[in-house]
Amino acid sequence: MSKIDEELQLLHQKIVLCVTPNSEDEIDIVLSWLSPTFQPQIPTLRIKQCLKVVFERSDERARFLIEQYYLTLIRTHFFSQFDAIVNWRDMVRLERLYLSKVEFILGAPVYWIQDEIVSFKRVLMNKNIEFKKRLHAKLEAHILDNDLDRFNQLYQWLAPAFDGQEIEFNAKMINLKVDQLSQELMKNNVDDRYLVMNTYNHFIKDFWSKFYKSLITEDDHELTAIIYQSFEKNYTKYKCDEFYTKIVPQFPASRKCLLELRSILNKDIKTVGAKVLENLYHGFVSRFLTSSLLTCEILYFYIKTVKCLKIIDPMGMCLRSLSKAVRKYLNSRPDLITTLVLGIFPLHHDERIKVACVSDGNSIHFQKLEQFAKEVGDFSLGPELPTALPWFHQPHLPRCTYDGNDELLKQYLNWVPEPPRIRLDVEEPEDNDVKYVPPADLIHVLLDTLESKRALVDDLLSVVSGKFIESEEYTLDSEWQKIMNILLNHLEATRKGAVTSEEDDLTHLNDVDIMLEDLKLSSRFRNQVAHKNNAYIGSFPHVKILSKLYWRHYQSLNGRLITSKRKWNDEMKPLVDNLTSIYEVLNVGRTLKFDTGSSSRVSFNMILNSGETKSFKVTMEQYLVISHFQSEANGEVGQERHGMTTMGNHSLPDRHHTLTSLHHLTSIPKTKLLTILSFWKQKGVVLEHPEGYFGIKDET
C-alpha cells in the first residue's frame, strides 16, 4: 500500500512540475477528485473550475501523467475489491464509476481507459472463478430463455475480454441451444415427417439470426451444416430410446417418424446405421424376450417391430439376427404353435377355445390374442419401399434412357448397385456367406419363428380337418382359402425331397389336398343320390364321405385310428342303408362306414306330451339316445320294440330306460352314455329316477 502511495506522490509532484504556471492547489483538488472513492462523484463548481484551469495549463506530458495517475488509482481500487466482485452488476457499476470521470473530462471514452477496463474484465474472467461461473450461468440462462437481447448485451460486454476462448465458448452456447430445442421439439414426437428440418428451421428463425451476429461475423454454411447434423444426432438418439416405448406401439401412426429415421440412417449407413440397428436389436432382446410376457404378447410386439424395421432397414440386417434370437427364445415356450395357429386362422371364439384347450390346459388371454390376430391381419408388411440408395434418386444426376435392343447395354444402364452390407456386432460368423433375403410377408416371419414346422403342420391339419367337418359347406370360404394357399405355398417351399428326420417330414401336407378332394367327391355323390331318387337336393341329408386315414379327426392321441360302431334306430337305419347301397353301386368295391360319433349332426323337433315343442341340433349319438325315449306309435306298454326284444327286460315301462338297456340298444359304452344323459338332463329333457331309470321330463 505504501508503495502505491509513494508512486502516487511521485506522480503528483511530476504533474505539479509540468503544469505551468503553477497551480498546485488546483492540481491537488483535481487529483483527489479523481479518486474513485471520492464523494461526491459529480464535481462541484469549484472542482470544475480547477479542472478547467489544470487542463488549460497542461501540456501533453502533464496529461499523460494525469492519465497514469488515474490509472494507478483505479487499478488500486479495482484490485482491492477483486474478490468481492462476483456479479456482473458489480463490475458494471465499477466500470461506470471509472468511466464516468473520464467521460466528464474528455467527453468520450478514450482508448486507454477502454483497454484498461478490458484488461480488468480479462483478469476477472481468468482469475475470479466465482465471477466467471456466475457470468456463464447468466449467459446460459438467457440463451435458454430465448432472451437474446440481454444475451447479446452481455455478450458484447464480454466479447473484448475473450482471448482465444471464444470458439469454445460459442460452441458451448450453440450446443446448449440445440439440445434445448431438441428436447423441446423432438422428444415424443412421432407425427412429423420432417421433424429434424422443422426443428432446425425453428432454430434458425428464432435464434440464429439474432445469435450469430454477435458471435460470428459472416454467414458460415459449414457451421450451419454441422449444426444440422447435431440436430440429426439428437433426433436419432431420442428416437432410438423411444423406439420400443412410442414408435412400435403406435405403429402405423408413427410411420412418418420411421421414414425420417430411415433417410437419416441412409446418409451414413455403415457406422450410424449399424450402431442404431445394433441398439434396436439389444433393445428388443432385453425388453421383450423375458418370461413376464405372454407368448402372444411377444409375438404381437415382434410383428410390430418387424413392420417398423422393414421401413428403416429394408435389407433386413437387423431382422436377420433378431429373428434368430426370437426363434431361439420362443421355442422354449410350449404354447408357441397354438398361439401361431390361433393368430393365423380366422377362427370364431368357440373354435378358438377348442383349439386352445386341445393342446394345453393353459389359460388363454383372449383379448391379447385378439390383438395379436388383428395385427397379423392380412399378413402384409406394408407397402414396398424403394431399396436403392437415395443418392441414386437425386434429380440432378443425369438419367440415361435407352430405346434400343441391346440387352447387355440395357442391363448396364439399369444396374442398381447393391446397398452396402452393414456388419452388425450381433451377427454370427456364418451369416457372412449366406445370401439373405428379407421376408416378403408376415407368414414368412411367423413361420420362421419355428424351429420345426412339423408340429405346426400337425396342428394346422387338425384345425382344418375340424373346420371341414363342422361346416355345412363343401368348400372353404374365401378367407380360409386364401390363408390356406399362402400357408401351403410357404410350407411347400421348405419341404425337402428325401427325408432323413421326422422333424422335416412335411409330406403329410398333402393331406389337405386329399381332404378337399374328399369334399368335392362328397358333393358330387350327394347330387347323384338326389338325382337317382329324383328328389330335391335340399331334402337329402348333407353327407360327407372321408378317407379315414387322411383326416386328423380320426386319429387318437397315440396315432391309432378311431372306430366306433353304433346301432342305428328305426329312423336312421333305412336312410343309411339306402345311402350305402347307392354308394356301393356307384363306387364298386367300396362301402360306407358311418362314424356315428361326434361329427354327424341331426336337427329335430321334440314334441312333448304336454304339447310343448323344442328344437335341437345335436350329435348323432345324442340323438340316438334320446330317440329311444319316444313313445310307441300305438302306445302300448311292453310292446316288442326293435332292439329291446333280445334283452328280456319286459318289465320296464315304456319310454324308460336304464343304462344297460340303452347300451344294448345303441352299443354306446356306458361311460359315454352317462355323459350324453347328463347333457339331456341339462337341457331339461331327461329326468333321473332313483332306481336308476331315466325318463322324459314333463310328461303328463
Partner: protein, 159 residues
C-alpha cells in the same frame, strides 16, 4: 421311392432288436441319396468267416424298387466263397435274381447273404475252384478263406 424311405425309417428300430445283432452298421452312403447303401456285418459263427467284419455294397434302382431287386455285392477282393466272384464281389444268390419278390426288404437280403455264407450253394458256383475245394477238403477251404480275409484286412490297414 417311398418304399425305400419307409425301409430307411424302420431300419433303426429293427437293427436294435436281437434278431439283427450281427449287423454292425447299415446305412446309405449319403443322407440324401438312398440309392447306394453300405452294410458291415459279422461273419456267422462256425464258419471260416467267424470273427471277421464283412462289407456289402448295395445299390437300389429308386424307380423300380421294389419291383426289381437291389444289386448286392461284397467289396471286391475281400471275401472268398464258392458263390462269390473274387474279383468283383458279385454274389450268386437266387433271392437276388429269379426268386426276388417285392416282399423282401434290404434287411432280408442281407440276412440271406449271411445264410449263404453258412451254406454255400454248390449248384451255381461263381468260383469254380473254391467250390471244388469246399466239396473235397473242407479244412483247406477254411484255410483259404481265412487267408484271403486276413490279407484283405491287411490291405485295408495299409491303405
Amino acid at each position: 421311392m417311398s418304399r425305400i424311405i419307409k425301409e430307411y425309417s424302420g431300419l433303426q428300430k429293427r437293427l436294435g432288436t436281437a434278431e439283427f445283432w450281427w449287423i454292425n452298421s447299415f446305412e446309405p452312403d449319403e443322407d440324401d441319396d438312398l440309392s447306394q447303401w453300405s452294410c458291415k456285418f459279422q461273419g456267422p459263427s462256425n464258419t471260416p468267416y467267424e470273427g471277421f467284419e464283412l462289407g456289402l455294397k448295395i445299390s437300389v434302382d429308386l424307380e423300380k424298387y421294389p419291383v426289381s431287386g437291389p444289386c448286392v455285392e461284397f467289396e471286391p477282393r475281400t471275401v472268398a466263397h464258392p458263390n462269390v466272384k473274387w474279383d468283383t464281389g458279385e454274389i450268386c444268390l437266387d433271392l437276388l435274381k429269379d426268386a426276388w419278390t417285392p416282399i423282401y426288404t434290404l434287411l432280408d437280403v442281407v440276412g440271406a447273404v449271411r445264410g449263404l455264407l453258412e451254406e454255400p450253394g454248390l449248384d451255381s458256383p461263381l468260383d469254380l475252384d473254391l467250390a471244388q475245394i469246399y466239396d473235397v477238403d473242407y479244412d483247406a477251404y477254411v484255410q483259404i478263406v481265412r487267408y484271403r480275409l486276413v490279407e484283405a484286412r491287411f490291405d485295408e490297414l495299409v491303405q
